[in-house]
């Protein structure tokens, strides 16, 4: 693809997916400064990748793959800060370290709980849940992540069950 086509595709992708990429970065990096670095790295990765974009998959699938893969590299590069390590969603246990409700509003509590679960997950499961939260259909999540749609559905179900149980008064996973 020529330079102007690449620039046009990149501008289009930023217009369509910019806010979603910012939310995605929040699911990968809690530190604001490092998150800004990640957002910038994702933009550079996307622009570079469009040199090879041939339309074999949709623009959204391409954008999600490149952005998530760059975020995975970011996770691996900064993994020493994550002393607990990551796990699959089936092994997440929030009983001891879920955010305390205190006086936060219900939606703040819910968002904190969502982020606390996502923060524990290894890249494949993290990507599935972040794409689900963006409203991406299971079939496309499967295409982006390389996981079967059935497995995607199961993991999303587990995620919602965990949220419901933990959010219930006195509840724990």
């Amino acid at each position: 693809m020529d330079q102007s086509g690449r620039d046009r595709l990149f501008t289009d992708a930023m217009a369509r997916f910019g806010p979603a990429l910012a939310r995605m970065a929040r699911g990968y990096e809690a530190d604001p400064d490092l998150r800004r670095d990640l957002e910038q790295d994702m933009q550079v990765a996307l622009w570079r990748s469009f040199a090879n974009f041939d339309g074999r998959c949709s623009l959204s699938t391409w954008v999600w793959r490149v952005a998530h893969n760059r975020a995975t590299s970011h996770m691996l590069a900064h993994r020493r800060r994550n002393a607990r390590g990551w796990t699959s969603i089936e092994d997440v246990d929030l009983a001891t370290d879920a955010p305390s409700p205190f006086d936060a509003t219900e939606s703040d509590r819910a968002m904190a709980l969502i982020l606390s679960i996502i923060d524990r997950l290894d890249p494949p499961d993290r990507q599935i849940l972040l794409l689900y939260l963006e409203g991406i259909a299971s079939a496309e999540i499967g295409e982006v992540t390389g996981v079967s749609p059935d497995s995607v559905t199961t993991k999303i179900h587990r995620f919602k069950t965990m949220l419901t149980r933990r959010f219930a008064p006195g509840g724990a996973v």
């Binding site: 933009q43 219900e106 963006e134 059935d150 199961t154």
Partner: protein, 195 residues
């Protein structure tokens, strides 16, 4: 009470925030993209600086220290460090920009496999090249200080070996953890297996 079973409400909650991506100017993106090949070089810079310090130190030892064993040991350490630096450069090749468009599972698995290979073979490419020089140098030091008794040999030869053994074990443990993670990814990808 938030209803987490309702997909639309959950999506609304996630997307309702004020997340905004600060756009980089296109010129800046192109400037950074042109530097992409430097990423690995920057990552390895610390190792290269450490290697340069070791090389300078043992070059000096080879010149000023007395005794054949200390001089030969110093030269062997220098050769060993050069082998390690070469292996580091070879094993951390330039990132493949095409790989980032692969599906996420394949990309993550490939990264883990590459790291697992490096850790599992650390004895071969990192420890073994340094060992002959280190042992020769330490033997020379034991002789120079007149510590060829059992305690002296333990201090000068066995302790460094134990240190290397510890490094080898730690790396193998890390490699085993990565292998478990790779196995989990493979299990999750099996058709019809929804875990």
């Amino acid at each position: 009470m938030t209803d987490f079973s309702d997909d639309a409400r959950l999506h609304g909650l996630w997307q309702g925030g004020d997340a905004v991506l600060a756009p980089l100017p296109l010129d800046e993106i192109k400037r950074r993209a042109a530097r992409f090949g430097d990423i690995v070089q920057r990552r390895n810079r610390r190792e290269y600086i450490a290697a340069a310090i070791v090389l300078a130190g043992f070059s000096l030892y080879a010149i000023i220290l007395p005794g054949a064993l200390l001089k030969i040991g110093s030269l062997l350490v220098i050769v060993g460090v050069l082998v390690v630096v070469w292996q580091l450069a070879r094993r951390t090749s330039r990132p493949d920009p095409d790989a980032e468009a692969a599906d996420v599972r394949a990309f993550y698995r490939a990264r883990l496999v590459r790291e697992e290979h490096m850790l599992a073979r650390v004895g071969l490419w990192y420890l073994a090249p340094l060992l002959p020089g280190l042992l020769t140098f330490m033997a020379g030091e034991a002789i120079l200080l007149g510590r060829t008794d059992a305690l002296g040999l333990t201090l000068f030869l066995v302790l460094p070996l134990l240190l290397f053994g510890g490094i080898w074990l730690l790396n193998h443990r890390a490699a085993a953890m990565l292998r478990a993670r790779i196995d989990r990814i493979d299990r999750a990808a099996k058709p019809g297996d929804s875990e």
